[in-house]
């Protein structure tokens, strides 16, 4: 049994047409380097003390219940969070355990050390990359971090010829970016060889007054 463990906030079964082709199970990791203003999963950002520790083996034992659906539909496991690229050893070991029949997908910001992505590229099938916005100032305004590592990792993916395995999410974030900046970002990514994009708009709902 491996020594590596990770805190996992949730395991969601039977995802259809949401985070990958086929039937997928979403594994939500705790912890993320970003602090996005409109984070979809803010509960993953706390201290994680309430989340269960998994090893790659124990996670496999839990998700294999849907292995038949994975193989039949070309689905598998999607790692999200939080930031799954903070767990390269965990995911690599998971790949060793589950074999190559299952698809392994990453939902990531790519704002992690390049070495992490270099470890993960051989073991994952698809990367769904939310770049927020390619403009550094807009990116910092929205996430609280620089996007240097994002650009570096995108270049690594391009150098490895894996652009076809990436879907780049380009959100329109009300009050933060514009269609013009999104168009410019897409053009820059297309020059790097990325061809698959998912453009969508955040819908920000105001919280009711307490």
């Amino acid at each position: 049994m491996s020594e590596c463990k990770a805190k996992i906030a949730a395991v969601a079964r039977h995802r259809l047409m949401i985070d990958g082709d086929g039937v997928t199970t979403l594994v939500v990791f705790h912890a993320c380097p970003l602090r996005c203003r409109y984070c979809l999963n803010p509960y993953t950002l706390g201290d994680g003390s309430s989340f269960r520790d998994y090893t790659p083996e124990s996670l496999y034992e839990e998700v294999k219940i849907d292995g038949l659906y994975f193989v039949a539909t070309g689905g598998g496991v999607t790692f999200g969070g939080g930031e799954p690229c903070l767990r390269p050893e965990f995911i690599s070991r998971f790949r060793e355990i589950c074999g190559r029949e299952w698809k392994l997908n990453l939902e990531t910001s790519l704002n992690v050390p390049v070495g992490n992505v270099r470890t993960l590229l051989p073991v994952v099938d698809t990367l769904i990359v939310d770049v927020k916005d390619m403009n550094p100032a807009i990116y910092r305004e929205y996430t609280g971090r620089d996007n240097d590592r994002v650009i570096e990792n995108l270049q690594l993916i391009a150098d490895e010829g894996r652009q076809g395995d990436c879907v780049i999410r380009l959100p329109l974030i009300p009050g933060l970016n514009s269609d013009a900046s999104r168009v410019a970002g897409r053009a820059r990514l297309q020059k790097m060889g990325f061809t698959r994009f998912d453009e969508f708009t955040y819908i920000v709902r105001k919280r009711r007054a307490e």
Binding site: H14, M17, I18, G22, V23, L68, G74, E101, E199
Partner: protein
């Protein structure tokens, strides 16, 4: 239909296809549970375990097992907020069939307090199976220009009668959305080079039903 019920229906169809691809006799009844559902239940889980057991026995007896890709392409992702975008975003293309052959006598077996019926039927298909059908539709469907201009999108359900020789002799709209979308759905499904449905090893005329969802790419302002 609630999201849970819809999920249950899709997973049930996947199980049916796995059984069909491996000559496992399995017919499940339409779920009659009226409450909210997450898409699975003990009965559904038991069917999966049953299939796994049957596939295991099949391997042990030296017979080929077909699982990989049996239902690949069945869950096509749409555009907009989903991860994959394409020129004609489609979602949820499922395949149903209503065989016209006279009813086949059924046997039942009890297993773990669940009753599964047994029939021997195959849906109309095409060489390459469901993956080929979805690929054929993706490559041949054209989003009608008048619908694009008018911003019309939605779900059309059509069914075609596939004769014993695989030809399509009739095509009807089961659920209409707009005449232009209806016409395109009928056109492309009628072009599919079918192999006929089979019942007890013999080709039979049978209906092939397919829902097709036409969805326009999302742009700011039309969320």
């Amino acid at each position: 239909m609630s999201d849970g019920k819809r999920k249950c229906r899709i997973l049930k169809e996947i199980r049916r296809r796995i059984a069909e691809a491996n000559d496992i006799r399995l017919v499940t009844e339409e779920c009659s549970y009226k409450g909210s559902c997450r898409g699975t239940c003990p009965r559904c889980e038991a069917e999966v375990r049953y299939l796994e057991g049957q596939l295991h026995d099949r391997r042990l007896s030296g017979r080929a097992v077909a699982i990989a890709g049996v239902s690949a392409g069945m869950l096509l992702m749409g555009g907009g907020s989903h991860a994959y975008s394409r020129n004609v975003p489609m979602e949820d293309i499922t395949v149903e069939n209503e065989p016209m052959a006279s009813q086949v006598a059924t046997d039942t077996v009890e297993e773990n307090n669940h009753i599964f019926g047994m029939v021997d039927m195959q849906s109309p298909s095409m060489p390459g199976g469901d993956v080929a059908i979805f690929k054929f539709i993706k490559e041949n469907i054209v989003y009608p220009e008048e619908a694009v201009k008018a911003g019309i999108e939605g779900r059309v359900v059509v069914k075609v009668l596939v004769e014993e020789d695989g030809t399509v002799s009739n095509a009807v709209v089961v659920r209409s959305k707009h005449p232009a979308l209806d016409r395109e759905a009928l056109r492309v499904v009628s072009l599919i080079p079918f192999t006929p449905g089979m019942c007890d090893g013999k080709p039979v005329a049978s209906w092939f039903t397919m829902p097709i969802t036409f969805r326009l790419p999302k742009t700011p302002g039309n969320e």
